[in-house]
């Protein structure tokens, strides 16, 4: 089964159109001797390696009565593995300044590793241990479980968590997406070492693994390092199916009582799938309504003109089995109703009128220009490459992205604005907003 490293140069990709050669970035698709595919960017300027990877099977794999399993497992992966107990494992990491991280989302468990060149063998060896033979020792489980429970306990009076949790519960009742990744005060105590081992056994496999590696390393060495980390994993994962879903409760408003000076608002509705032909149009339209810049409609109307909030935003989130548009703000209790009215009015106006041609052009220009800012560190490049693999956009996506943005027309923008914002929103509010109560319809 052992073959030579097959290193295939797939595409040479400039970061942005017209970028000079010195700033071009080449992504190579490599296949390790054990047959694991990875995307590699060679970068010699800084003597370090950054690895980013993802296994499908995040918290959506949790049993409903044991939600938080994937999250607890991830928190324990660096708490002892193989012959090394938690203490020794942590010492090995720090003695070599290795940064190892795990993060659980609804669909994936993501991992990252950052290490100086001189310690790379040690780092990839420790990663192999943590993925293939995590110990899940009883004392470590209880210690880390205590930390998760403490944080869940703290969340019970945090308005951000209260508004967010209720939004997801209401939008996706009975579906894994309605449950919090961290689990709950009821479910986390039920999780056993067997559950954690079962999760790792079912999820950590080579068949759907996505790997990105950036650093001062050639294809052959990268292939060997990848096998060192992932080569011992089973070939195939064993995932439970997850049903497709659409957000429920649109048009409803839910007020959660908590005694804070400022009410926190979450609003959202049906989003758009990443592979939908209208995705890019939706991405642009959402940017105009409530994206990151200081020029969005919501920012201008809520903050600049009226001083109702410090921040307000709206973003698209997409998953394997659902997609949502989700936004939020935080505003003083006696003006929450005003802020919400302004937000609803702007959303309606966007659905009815869409953006102006000038706004469309400005947003396109922003989204094209700003992409390079998301690719200016090894860590960001590695994260971005993994996301492109997860979204199945192709190794030449960075090259094609500008043209995809340019091809969005005013008709596309108006049609998609109607589709995205015309269906009503589910609104959750945590706090004591004056004059606002829960209602089945916000009309």
């Amino acid at each position: 089964m052992s073959r030579l490293v097959a290193s295939i140069l797939c595409a040479a990709i400039a970061l942005i159109a017209g970028a000079n050669a010195a700033s071009a970035m080449t992504i190579e698709k490599i296949v390790s001797p054990a047959g694991i595919e990875a995307w590699l960017v060679r970068e010699k300027a800084v003597p370090l390696i950054t690895l980013n990877y993802a296994f499908p099977g995040g918290s959506s794999q949790d049993e409903p009565d044991k939600s938080g399993t994937a999250n607890l497992a991830a928190d324990l992966l660096d708490e002892g593995a193989g012959d090394l107990d938690a203490r020794v494992f942590h010492e090995r990491l720090e003695n070599h300044a290795i940064e190892m991280g795990f993060q659980v989302g609804r669909d994936y468990i993501h991992g990252s590793l950052r290490v100086l060149n001189e310690y790379r063998d040690e780092a990839f060896g420790l990663l192999r241990l943590s993925l293939s033979s995590p110990r899940f020792d009883a004392d470590a489980i209880e210690r880390v479980r205590g930390q998760v429970l403490a944080s869940l306990q703290r969340d019970t009076t945090n308005p951000n968590d209260l508004a967010g949790r209720r939004w997801w519960q209401t939008a996706f009742p009975g579906h894994p997406y309605g449950r919090e990744t961290k689990g709950t005060l009821e479910t986390v105590p039920r999780i056993t070492a067997g559950d954690l081992r079962g999760y790792v056994r079912r999820v950590f496999a080579r068949n759907e693994l996505k790997v990105s590696i950036v650093g001062d390393v050639d294809a052959q060495t990268a292939g060997a390092l990848i096998d060192r980390a992932f080569g011992a994993l089973p070939q195939k994962n064993d995932l439970k199916p997850v049903a497709d879903a659409t957000p429920k409760g649109l048009g409803r408003r839910i007020v959660i009582d908590v005694d804070v000076p400022q009410a926190v608002v979450t609003f959202g509705g049906q989003g758009i799938a990443r592979n939908d032909p209208d995705f890019m149009a939706a991405y642009i339209v959402n940017h105009i309504l409530g994206g990151g810049s200081f020029s969005s409609w919501l920012y201008r109307e809520v903050r600049e003109k009226r001083g109702l909030a410090y921040g307000v935003n709206s973003s698209l989130a997409w998953f394997r089995h659902a997609a949502v548009v989700l936004g939020g703000t935080a505003t003083r209790a006696d003006r929450t109703a005003d802020a919400l009215a302004v937000i609803e009015q702007e959303i309606k106006r966007m659905a009815a009128e869409g953006p102006t041609p000038e706004e469309l052009e400005a947003a396109k220009s922003f989204l094209k220009g700003s992409y390079a800012l998301s690719l200016d560190t090894s860590g960001k490049i590695a994260v971005q490459l993994t996301q492109i693999q997860i979204d199945n956009l192709g190794i030449d996506y960075i090259q094609r992205r500008g043209a995809l943005i340019d091809s969005v027309t005013m008709d596309d923008a108006k049609r998609v604005a109607r589709r995205l914002y015309g269906g009503g929103m589910l609104v959750t509010v945590a706090g004591r907003p004056k004059g606002l109560t829960s209602s089945e319809s916000t009309e």
Partner: protein, 477 residues
């Protein structure tokens, strides 16, 4: 602290993020304190293989630092003014930060919103931040647009125009920001109370965001007066990191910032200094929303600027060994061995013009009281004071801290931020460059001596955060 995290980071659309729009405020809550400590611990850079950094001053007194990094065609441009909350007139707390917001309201040449629109159109990011000792503004843009943002930024060094139409709604925005950062967050409220008790004379006792009753009274005239007094080329540092070379940056700086006339001589930044502390202080904040009790203790400790040679470096190593991460003394003793704490940490901020602070904190496991936790923390600190640290701990910590200097080179925005922080808090480019060597030189004796001298309870304030269970609180909630 560990890991040179991205200070300025693109938020991926996947991440559910509660509005994080304008303005980073340093030193007002746990998270930003940790960040400040991270900055302090890693002002790094240029190790042997690091970039060639240029440092020069224009005729009008503006200092520039240029940090080339040609890997991506983008550049981070920042202006740091040597003025912060600690420079406010008594009674005007929050003014430095309020002005920071108002700096986005336009000039005679560029009406409100134009700068932001241009930054957005070219695909840039922008923001600003205020701390006790500095106020900063930045843009991250494709490198061919560097001159454009330098022109705009140079224009607002002296060209700001304000009317009540824009000032009054913005005052509501900072009041909402105060609610979001402090009012809604019991831990941040505790930190505010501890700072106020720790600093007996220094303005560092006032929160950067301000006290609400004073924020509510801030006016247009206050802001303009503060602006005219402190915003000047000879009171600022421009840091440019990324795809630019020093000669080009210098030429652009001459064409833009170079045309601003010099302000009269700036008064020295002489703030009221702390007297020697003589009594341990303690306080308890009860809040009905507290679900996890916590303890935080701050010790008055020297900063890089106020300390003797090697002192702040020893404190950085001490903070790491005592309370950073799973190998630290506090975590091992309290969370792993005795199982009395859920979390336990320590951190130290070396970047302050005046006396800084060394902080320890933790949360007890259910069933453990805060006095019990405090007593265990005291035991751990007492052991370091008595017996010092092991050579293994010292080496591990140095490896980790020095690696941060290499990791930091991967991020142009972090590099810019570290140089800016150092140069506005009494450090120089060379101090930053030599940081790995300074850490390497720390001895076990210095670490023990730092613990003995500075972790003296008489220098400290201990704060307890507990749940308010009074009938009144019950009724309120």
């Amino acid at each position: 602290m560990r890991s040179a995290g991205d200070v300025i980071q693109l938020v991926l659309p996947h991440e559910r993020n509660i509005p994080k729009v304008n303005i980073v405020l340093a030193k007002i809550n746990f998270a930003t304190i940790a960040l400040a400590a991270a900055l302090a611990a890693s002002p790094l850079a240029a190790q042997q293989a690091g970039p060639e950094i240029a440092n020069f001053t224009l005729a009008n007194g503006l200092e520039l630092v240029v940090i080339p990094d040609h890997r991506a065609p983008v550049v981070t441009h920042m202006i740091w003014y040597k003025v912060g909350a600690a420079d406010e007139t008594p009674g005007k707390s929050g003014l430095a930060h309020f002005l920071e917001h108002l700096m986005f309201k336009g000039t005679a040449k560029n009406p409100a919103g134009k700068f932001s629109q241009v930054v957005a159109r070219i695909g840039g990011q922008e923001n600003a931040f205020t701390a006790q000792d500095y106020t900063g503004y930045y843009q991250r843009v494709p490198s061919e647009h560097l001159k454009t943002v330098m022109e705009f930024e140079a224009d607002r060094v002296t060209g700001l125009q304000l009317t009540d139409d824009v000032v009054l709604p913005e005052r509501n925005v900072i009041l909402e920001e105060q609610n979001q950062r402090i009012g809604n967050n019991p831990r941040a409220r505790l930190g505010e109370q501890i700072d106020a008790a720790l600093y007996l004379n220094s303005p560092y006792g006032k929160p950067v965001i301000g006290w609400r009753h004073e924020m509510e009274q801030l006016s247009r005239d206050d802001a303009i007066g503060f602006y005219r007094r402190f915003y000047a080329p000879n009171n600022a540092v421009v840091v440019i990191a990324g795809d630019v070379d020093p000669a080009q940056a210098r030429a652009l700086a001459e064409e833009t910032y170079g045309k601003i006339p010099q302000h009269g001589a700036m008064a020295p930044r002489a703030r009221p200094q702390e007297p020697p502390p003589v009594a341990p202080r303690s306080l308890t904040l009860a809040d009905a929303r507290v679900e996890m009790p916590a303890l935080q203790r701050e010790y008055l400790a020297p900063s890089f600027a106020t300390g003797k040679r090697g002192e702040s470096e020893a404190l950085e190593v001490l903070a790491h060994i005592l309370g950073n991460g799973s190998n630290s003394r506090l975590y091992r003793a309290l969370a792993v061995d005795k199982q009395v704490a859920v979390t336990a940490d320590a951190w130290y901020d070396s970047s302050a013009l005046d006396m800084s602070k060394f902080t320890v904190g933790g949360s007890p496991r259910p069933g453990v009281t805060l006095p019990q936790l405090e007593s265990e923390i005291d035991t751990v600190i007492g052991q370091i004071i008595d017996k010092g640290v092991t050579s293994e701990e010292l080496e591990r910590t140095k490896t980790r801290l020095i690696a941060d200097a290499v990791y930091a080179q991967d991020n142009q925005a972090s590099m810019a931020r570290w140089y800016g922080t150092a140069l506005t808090t009494g450090g120089s480019v060379n101090d930053v460059r030599r940081w790995p060597d300074r850490i390497r030189a720390v001895t076990a004796d210095q670490v023990r001596d730092a613990a003995r001298q500075w972790l003296d309870k008489r220098r400290s304030v201990t704060g307890y955060l507990i749940k308010d269970v009074s009938p009144q609180a019950e009724k309120r909630s």
